[in-house]
Amino acid sequence: MANHNAHTEHGDHGHEGGHGSMKSYVIGFLLSIVLTIIPLVAVMNGMFSKQVTTVLILVMAILQFAVQLLFFMHIRDEKKPRYNLISLIFGLVIMLTIVAGSIWIMTYNAVAT
């Protein structure tokens, strides 16, 4: 079932080496614009408390990343075995470890500012 739908959704799926369609690019572009404007407005107008804003804009950034990944980089189109996706997930886990681990370890090692 899902496979049938997928074919109609992506116009030129069968195209040799081709990915995506104008439609998916336009949707992706519009979404990314929206996802940029929301945090911008929230921050510039100081609409929420600092904590809420932080969470909100980080979530927006992550969504934006997902949009780029799905609509522009076509991570869904990959054939099995999905080495691209696996390596990306592994990379993101390590990257988050670096950031979160550094923050955690350096909490007690902060220098006077």
Binding site: F29, T36, K50, A61, M73, G91, M95, V99, I103
Partner: protein, 215 residues
Amino acid sequence: MAEAIKNKGHLAHAGHGSHGGDHGHGHDHHDQEEMKTFGFWLFLITDVILFGTLFATYVVLRNNFAGGPLGSDLIEMSGIIASTFILLTSSFTSGIALLEMNKGNKKGLITWLIITALLGASFIYLEVNEFIHLVHEGANIGTSAYWSAFFTLVGTHGLHVTVGLVWMTAIILQIRRRGITPVTKRKVNIISLYWHFLDVVWIFVFTIVYLMGVM
């Protein structure tokens, strides 16, 4: 048995007539180019780690102003907002270039690549202007740990965009000379991946450095 094809790996331009294999040239080549695209994808993952480390450093040092100017004192959001939308748009236009390529439209491909490159160049122009402004206002890389981290993170992204511009120019020249072949096709695919990736990195620079910096 995709692996077998790779090992035979005939190239179309070599012009040997005696390949007994049941795989067409185009398919072989497609596989080789696919391998390069995968290699490039892995390189992008290493770049994720690279930027992750820079972000980690920035976040750890984000409050270390050492009595110097604060980020929120000097950052002017108008230019940043403009460059954000410029880069977003260029990510989109590089996608259109890809669509034109898949249609086999060489002229469209080149046009959209040039548009992408011009958008990228204006992004760099705005960034250089911003840096000059900041230095003028008394914040340079040696001012404090915060500004060291700021300039290094933002500058590394800018450097990536600059490299992308040189590279894109080289690819445009190659397409002009050679047209859309499996090799140039792979190159365009790769640079557009790179370009989307830089856009993603910028989103996080925008969010973490700028938005959270002026909050």
